[in-house]
């Protein structure tokens, strides 16, 4: 059954943080202010690549209202950050490597004074040659950006003998795919409030996906114990991976400690574009071949990824791309070579989909091209080559077995949209047979989703496409991936669910509340969700990699018996009744038979002998192999679209879409639909409008008037989501992640729809309208 508000019935709940967000009443961390607070700003490099000859802050320090001007000399600890590979300078010492590089930071009484002081910081640069092309950066003689050279990371994979495989192929396609430098474009730009407390501690109010990681990194920079830092990290006005890494936090923390006063920083959109992370632009070459029947015999992949100047999670993203460039298919032989390259372009980093978006666009494009050569339906070609439930994962590793592949493959074929395609194809075939006989256009082929079947003008061409996605969740083998949480009955009688996850709009609070209501029988009023504060929450790992909901579900499953058992036992003791005769449910402990309320949670809390609480900690499940980053849990999706090309302008419109998702039970229907629809909107931007264009290391799209995210006008048309909840008997893993899945499959599906519409292959995103433009003809 399609997932809609109606089909969800009572499970469709108003999310607890919804009203505050819709009315604007909710204060984000960057809306906060403190009495006497200073305003911080960062001086960023004037050049994409230059030697710093000298920095003088003397004049800036004498400016009115200026309380501190800091440079690399003022960093007490490690002058670097980076989640996995700390090589990003907090302040550059002798060299800048991109136009977002920080050289100094100022705190002043007003933002205007801080801005004026930045202009008075004198930096003498000696410009260096710019490395703006990852492939050129690999050539001999290219300027080297780091001691290790320009190679950030390589990752190769091989099984079987691809050469022999290709020799046996009846059909081979080769293509080079290119993907854009997409921006997360969260509504809330990076920022925060940094408060030096009287007791010597530092409180950091700044959005991040993993408060404990920020705390660790800040402790390293400030040379202080982690315990001296408190990170308050939620609520967040969107992140999509873009705020997992540190951004303004080092500057806010250093300025606050240097001045002894609260400091606020909040990036303008311009600064956010300049300094913030983007999706890795990748160039992916693929050569793929089949036998005469369509069986995949050989697959060769080469990936070049543009890291920008520093590492952050570039290596991990590349590893993910390697795995997903193989996808759900079984090849006779396969070889992947990949390299991530340092350049003087903007910083690339974590972004929803994590390197899968680029790889799947290429992989699915290969299948569509092969199907054309074979004269076979593209969806049928996929069926022939899809993995079976017990097959190993893409890198040969054992994975959690589900029937998701078959389920989403079949669901697509049965969807309204795909049946419409079948009717349109047979109508077209019929019309071709009747050429000259004055055949009228069949209704099914000419509707643009609207009710009236008006024959479109000759320059409007429509087509259908589909893509398959198998997306890994969790951080993968070899990367610490802790999980866990705590339940406790607080003194005021509220049941607190305490987790180290973050709410950045995905609906995590709503999902947690819904699970506690549905699985534990509590009422919403019984609950208090506590997240986003490193002083209070356990380290549940990062809210990333489609893992949070799975891990909350696992935690609650583990906590259920101990926590409810303790509530029950203590209530029974207080009531002087046998434990079996009482049950902790909505509003308090009730008679197990009649449901009568015996003891409210407030009464229980006040009378309990000791605090009632339970805690669990464990790790995200991984595959028992030693290949770093390979995944154990996967979600599956098939995506079908109908798209339209206007050949006058070459512009593409998405008319209709269908997503089948096999990821276990739906924890929160509204959140589920939101993730798939929202991910799809992001994928549409990746496909048709979004690219942070750079020229010689400088952004040409510096604001949202030239960097164009889709609007409601692009997102017209139906978006059907079919969740497939069934899991194999005995499955212990529960709901799989869906946070990224929706952002992956749309691009290749649209590319195939374009091909069906106008017969042209798109290999570079966003789609260039000029490629699809045709001279109008009325012959």
């Amino acid at each position: 059954m399609l997932l809609t508000r109606e089909s969800s019935g009572e499970r469709w709940r108003i999310r607890p943080d919804g009203p505050g967000k819709v009315t604007g009443e909710l204060a984000y961390l960057t809306d906060m202010a403190a009495p006497g607070m200073l305003h911080g700003m960062v001086l960023r490099s004037s050049y994409p690549h230059a030697r710093i000859v000298a920095v003088s802050t003397e004049k800036a320090k004498t400016m009115p209202g200026v309380r501190a001007v800091l440079t690399c000399a003022d960093v007490p600890g490690l002058n670097r950050f980076g989640i996995a590979h700390p090589d990003h300078p907090v302040f550059c010492e002798d060299r800048v490597r991109f136009i977002g590089d920080a050289i100094a930071a100022v705190a002043a009484d007003t933002a205007l004074q801080a801005a004026e002081a930045l202009k008075r910081i004198e930096v003498e640069y000696e410009p260096l040659p710019i490395v703006d092309d990852p492939e050129a950066a690999l050539l001999e003689g290219a300027p080297q950006l780091h001691e290790q050279g320009n190679v950030q990371h390589r990752n190769d994979y091989r099984h079987g003998d691809p050469e022999a495989g290709f020799a046996a192929c009846a059909h081979i396609v080769e293509e080079t795919y290119a993907t854009p430098r997409q921006m997360h474009t969260y509504m809330e730009t990076e920022g925060g409030l940094f408060i030096p407390e009287r007791n010597g501690r530092l409180t950091v109010y700044s959005p991040t996906q993993h408060a404990f990681m920020d705390r660790m990194q800040l402790a390293r920079i400030l040379d202080r114990p982690e315990a001296d830092i408190r990170v308050v990290s939620s609520p967040i006005g969107g992140s999509f991976g873009g705020k997992d890494e540190l951004n303004v936090q080092p500057y806010g923390a250093l300025l606050a400690l240097a001045t002894g006063k609260p400091v606020k920083l909040h990036n303008s959109r311009w600064e956010s574009v300049r300094a913030g992370l983007k999706r890795h632009p990748m160039k992916i070459r693929m050569k793929t071949g089949t036998d005469a029947g369509g069986k995949l015999l050989a697959h060769r992949v080469s990936i070049v990824s543009d890291a920008g100047p520093y590492s952050t999670l570039s290596a991990e993203v590349l590893n993910f791309s390697v795995e997903h460039a193989l996808g759900p298919y079984r090849f006779g032989a396969a070889e992947v070579k990949s390299v991530c390259v340092f350049t003087n372009n903007g910083m690339s980093g974590e972004f929803r989909g994590f390197g899968g978006n680029q790889a799947v666009f290429a992989m699915e494009g290969q299948l569509d091209r092969l199907a054309e050569k074979l004269g076979m339906d593209p969806w049928e070609l996929r069926r022939i080559n899809l993995r079976k439930p017990d097959d190993p994962g893409p890198l040969g590793q054992p994975i959690s077995a589900t029937d998701g592949v078959r389920q989403v493959w079949e669901a697509l074929g049965e969807s309204r949209l795909w049946r419409e395609r079948e009717r349109a194809r047979s109508a077209n075939a019929g019309r071709r047979a009747e050429v000259g006989a004055g055949a009228k256009e069949a209704d099914a082929t000419s509707t643009g989703g609207g009710p009236a079947a008006v024959e479109p003008p000759p320059w409007i061409k429509t087509g259908y496409g589909a893509a398959f996605v198998m997306h890994g969740a969790g951080l993968g083998v070899g990367i610490p991936d802790p999980a866990g949480g705590r339940l406790r009955l607080a003194q005021d009688g509220r049941i607190e669910a305490v987790f180290g996850y973050e709410e950045f709009g995905q609906g995590l609070i709503a999902s947690l509340e819904q699970m506690l209501i549905e699985q534990y029988g509590f009422a919403a009023d019984d609950l208090r969700i506590v997240i986003g504060d490193s002083d209070v929450v356990p380290n549940s790992g990062s809210s990333t990699a489609s893992r949070s909901t799975s891990m909350m579900w696992q935690s609650l499953r583990r906590l259920r018996a101990p926590f409810k058992g303790k509530l029950r036992a203590e209530a029974a003791r207080l009531l002087g009744r046998p434990a079996e005769s009482v049950k902790p449910l909505a509003g308090g402990v009730r008679d197990a038979g009649t449901g009568e309320l015996l003891l409210t949670y407030a009464e229980l809390a006040s009378r309990a002998e000791e605090e009632i609480a339970a805690e669990t900690s464990f790790f995200y499940p991984t595959s028992p192999v030693d290949r770093v980053g390979s995944h154990f849990m996967y979600s599956y999706s098939s995506v079908a679209v109908k798209a339209e090309v206007n050949t006058l302008t070459g512009r593409v419109r998405l008319l209709d879409q269908f997503h089948a998702v096999a990821a276990g039970p739906v924890v929160n229907p509204q959140g589920y639909l939101g993730q798939i629809e929202g991910g799809s909107g992001m994928a549409l931007g990746f496909t048709i409008t979004e690219d942070a264009v750079m020229d010689r290391g400088v952004y040409l799209t510096r604001n949202l008037d030239t960097y164009l995210v889709p609007t409601i006008a692009e997102l017209r048309g139906a978006c059907e989501v079919l969740p497939i909840e069934e899991l194999p008997e005995g499955d212990e893993h529960g709901p799989r992640g869906i946070g990224e899945l929706g952002s992956v499959g749309l691009a290749p599906a649209i590319a195939q729809a374009i091909f069906e519409a106008v017969g042209k292959r798109v290999a570079k995103l966003p789609v260039d309208p000029q490629l699809l433009q045709e001279r109008v003809g009325f012959g």
């Binding site: 004049k59 692009e714 433009q773």
Partner: protein, 298 residues
């Protein structure tokens, strides 16, 4: 240095004249230190982008009498330059007399911007999306230059704006072509193509208005612009069409004429050739849509 700091901290002085004459005399007095402000939606994006600095004096036209509203003057529709885009968009009178202007206004920026931005502001921007429509409509512009009233056509002004300091006082749209016969039917089209469907800068904008009679097209004006390209008339295409019936062959010739005559300015987001082909395609397709029956017979 202290001076510059003070300057930065000082917001511009905002003046609120009550008549066009008073506004013009303020502008004369302050010279280049003063900027007229209508809706200020464009000004603030320019200040933010650093493509213009905030002036010392802003002359707010919001209180100037007689600059707002849509009225009739004989056959002409008269639009006050301070009329907001939203007001233009919802005007029944404009929907009747200048439908392509309404179409143009709908395609400018987003809802919140259109509530503030004015038609006059879009016109004096010169590359605003209303300008091709006004050229196709053969609109004229009335200005106050010093104490002198000056009238120019929208087309003349777009081609060569006066270097003299002027205040736009009205936008006038003629009602019906002089000498047109009673059975002449008006046709018109407006298309804007950007890099997305809404709230987007234009890459190519075309506007067409004409009349058709029994024996073919009796009048036609075609304007093309978009991006940083100043809108211009596609006179060669007009000449080909005048007196003719747009069949397939004529439309091909019109396509070629636009392709040849339209000279767009380029930017990193779309190639010159793409803009030319888009303009030519849109003009030919718009005419095909209007004359679909005769075109398909041709």
């Amino acid at each position: 240095m202290a001076m510059s700091q003070e300057e930065l901290l000082r917001s511009p002085a905002v003046w609120q004249p009550r008549s066009p004459e008073e506004a013009a005399s303020m502008k004369t007095a302050f010279g280049p230190d003063a900027v007229y402000a209508a809706g200020s939606t464009l000004l603030r994006t320019q200040w933010e982008a650093g493509t213009a600095t905030m002036p010392r004096h802003l002359i707010d036209l919001g209180r100037v009498a007689g600059l707002k509203g849509i009225t009739e003057d004989g056959a002409e529709t008269v639009i006050g330059p301070m009329t907001t885009l939203t007001e233009c968009r919802t005007s029944e009178r404009l929907a009747e007399s200048a439908p392509i202007l309404v179409e143009a206004v709908k395609a400018i920026a987003g809802w919140s911007v259109r509530n503030l931005a004015t038609l006059g502001g879009n016109v004096v921007f010169r590359v605003g999306d209303s300008v091709p429509a006004l050229i196709a409509l053969n609109a004229s512009l009335e200005w106050l230059e010093g104490s002198r009233r000056v009238r120019t056509s929208a087309e003349e002004w777009a081609a060569a704006p006066s270097s003299a300091s002027r205040l736009l006082t009205s936008i006038r749209i003629p009602g019906g072509e002089a000498g047109a016969r009673a059975n002449a039917k008006r046709f018109c089209a407006y298309h804007k193509v950007g890099r997305r469907e809404a709230f987007t800068p234009s890459l190519v904008t075309i506007a067409i208005q004409g009349t058709r009679e029994e024996d073919g097209i009796s009048s036609i004006r075609i304007a093309a612009g978009g991006g940083q390209t100043t809108p211009v008339r596609m006179t060669r295409a007009e000449e080909l069409l005048l007196g003719g019936r747009p069949d397939a062959n004529l439309l091909q010739a019109v396509y070629e004429a636009v392709l040849e005559q339209y000279e767009p300015k380029t930017d990193p987001f779309a190639a010159d050739l793409y803009r030319k082909q888009t303009a030519a395609n849109l003009v030919a397709a718009a005419l095909w849509t209007q004359f679909r029956d005769s075109a398909s017979k041709g």
